[in-house]
Symmetry: C4
Subunit: 274 residues, 4 copies
């Protein structure tokens, strides 16, 4: 397993001068029920600050006002409005489903709906409760090679069937090969499994052990994929930068609020711009 280094941030290239919103991709985030609305807001805040050209959140209408109050840069769609959701999804480059999605019937319905809609050209990031839902049912991934799972260890246990204590590199890698999807296995040092070699993130700190850290990472991954070429390198960079910024914040703060990571993204991306 190879350690990630600052080198992986070289994908953050100087933006081409003649560009517009479309150049940097359209990201659609799906999640946020009445109880967990904050999760999808944190993903959206990360995604915009990570540089996605356009960001739309498909969510419970109860979350629209708070989303706009925090981040008017984000567009919203009522997840009960099928026609609107169809049209929003049709133009997506990257779809993220899961943060604050919940695990009830509506959540399952939305996951199935996204599986039906995902096209060959769209990447799909599956996070949080969407992983648990997927693990429970026997649905097939419509496009495994274009799919990224971002489980924490317990979610990975549900998805892979491997108990936390048994989650070694070799076993994890074997399950990845069966799933064909990329796996971002979050723990105090996150691991990335894909068709390529396996990567280990040496950064991160215990101040990040607070609700919302994972939602924020999922938003950065989605924003990076929308904006840069689709590749494991881009996912590596998202994982590394998320922890890198958190370590900077942790230097002076006992707790790393996830929204602080998002707010610092434009500054740090500039520092690493090639």
């Amino acid at each position: 397993m190879q350690n990630l280094s600052e080198q992986c941030l070289s994908i953050i290239q100087k933006r081409p001068k003649n560009s517009h919103k479309g150049t940097f991709g359209r990201t659609v985030l799906v999640g946020g029920n009445a109880q967990f609305g904050g999760a999808i807001m944190m993903s959206a805040e990360a995604c915009v600050n990570a540089g996605s050209g356009l960001t739309t959140v498909i969510t419970d209408p109860n979350n629209h006002q708070a989303l706009h109050a925090r981040m008017p840069e984000v567009m919203t769609a009522d997840w009960n409005d099928n026609e609107l959701c169809d049209s929003v999804l049709a133009s997506a480059d990257v779809i993220l489903i899961g943060p604050g999605l919940g695990e009830d019937e509506k959540s399952q319905e939305l996951l199935t709906y996204i599986f039906q809609k995902q096209t060959e050209n769209q990447l799909l990031v599956i996070d949080g409760s969407a992983i648990t839902l997927f693990a429970k049912n026997d649905e097939e991934l419509p496009h495994p090679e274009q799919t990224i799972f971002t489980p924490h260890q317990m979610e990975w246990q549900r998805l892979s069937g491997i108990k936390i204590a048994d989650q070694t590199e070799e076993i994890n890698q074997a399950v990845q090969e069966k799933l064909e999807a990329t796996i971002v296995l979050k723990s105090h040092h996150t691991e990335i499994y894909s068709e390529q070699e396996d990567f280990l993130n040496p950064l991160g700190n215990p101040g990040m052990a607070t609700g919302g850290t994972g939602d924020t990472l999922a938003g950065i991954i989605a924003g990076f994929l929308a904006q840069f070429a689709s590749s494991v390198e881009v996912i590596n960079a998202a994982v590394y930068l998320h922890s890198y910024i958190a370590d900077q914040i942790y230097y002076d703060n006992y707790i790393v609020l996830p929204t602080k990571i998002s707010q610092a993204l434009p500054y740090w991306m500039k520092q690493f711009e090639k």
Copy 2:
């Protein structure tokens, strides 16, 4: 086509000592449906920070709380309340329609309503989906010389019939003359077409290629027109300052959040105050 320079900011004159809210104009912004509420919020945030004396937003009632949470300085009117909207519009110096307006029946109804209400003394800025709606139909501008369109290149294609690849200065200028309205053609270097000579904005950067940058520019233009004399010079200054501030932010940030531009307006206007 003449390059804009810092010179154009000389319209930002020292404010007269004996002044009140009315001195700096009343701006009314129309837009923001349930999905795109953030767009009109960003315009309003720009407009207030640009110095409009009083700013009112006519919008879907779902957006009122988020607007107030971000910017209590802005007044709101429910766009279903005709009597209220009539009275708000009657006192406007400048009307901006379009940010987040959408393209459905309600949107068209509002555009037609604004065309009916606009008086000889009121400037009208037409942005975003209002441009697309106008291009689709065969309505006439009630007061072309008092109208400013702010299309991006695709919207300009819809409005002018000129394909993006063919949008040369000469052809653009010819359409402007037919329309009689002022055109702010947004691209990585914005162009301004009017009765006067054509202007090119040499500033701007690819960090601005994110949702909300155009909504913010429209708000600054409206706020400047409300506050300073109506002229192409004032529009030039709004375009130039918007990019100037964005370039300052871009110096240290990979992405230029539109709301950061608005928040920096009072500071930079002071620096250029004559």
Copy 3:
């Protein structure tokens, strides 16, 4: 007419060590209909930052969420809930009515209600549309000596019957004597008329000519009266400090956002603490 000077801020005394919320008074603010909710939010933000011990806003329920999102330090009461409003008012030291109140039936009903409830021990600040409503009708002030009006020049014309051009010190003073209330006549240099000598505020700047500046002043006056002894000196200090801070902000900013004045209150009050 005597010029106010920094001297008037000497009422900002070091707080007694053994104190609690009750020591610094209970302020109740009444205003904010569906359109003008932002006004009462700005008053509340000013009032809390000015040091009122407890601040409650009686307003349209549509404004509660945005109020809390900006300032959880403020309590809210639905202005349709009479029982709750009765109990909130009963414990008030200072009542402010007017910011964003509107001028319809409900507004008038609330003004009449406040007149009925005001006790001999409660100060009443009447601002904004409440002044216009009062001027229109023939109600009597329940406790004129405990009442402060904060009109701008046009509202003063409505209230006093004196045209703006004729608003000289002598004539203003004569009307004050008839009304028996204290008058804070807002203009580019605010004047204060009371039983005592007349005062002129030499501070202030044209960057303050934006919506919300008056709502903020009203909130500071209410917060100061709740916290310090009731006197013209306290009103003078509120007027002076409001402009003093605005002048500090204006030094670096072309526009003085009212909420920036409020946010700077704790700092500047400390600088002037005796």
Copy 4:
């Protein structure tokens, strides 16, 4: 009575490297009716910034949007949804009830419900109107040794029957022994009564005498208990740090906004990290 000193902050240990959200506890806050929603928001803001691993607020649904707009890191549960509340409570390490809870039937119903649900492994902090409700009725504490009351002097009078003038250390201690719960008696110098010796907080300042200071302290206590071992030392540290930070803010500010204390927690906890 022993004076607390900086020494008590030594419970803020360096976090273990291999940790996750669960390591730092699950806190559930119950409060915030339609009028007093801000109180529970301030507790939640304190709790997250104090380092609770996961924070959920059981509150009136009217408060959800404002909570998320301020702090998406917090999860919400509608207090009318029994099934959801049951499941949220089942996983709690610490429960805080009281901030903004009110004193009506619904409030009493919720307090009784929490008493029924509290398990042997869960700590319970009782604050604000929940203290008043408890004092009024004759309910028994389900687990007195796991209960912490945080009354101000008037609430302590209601709870203990001791008039404020008679609240001496000896008498307070006697009542504590009867109650068996820990008492955090808030005044300008807070006192802590428990099975152990009594403690006096020498810090604090009159700038803290504003609405929300107590709600914030309750949130810090809950967050500390969730994260560190349950002990009087941990409560001491929460009380001391709350005042320590407030004193830092007061140095430059006449009024100490409670939310400013919360926002400064991560920084100051880092400074004292052992």
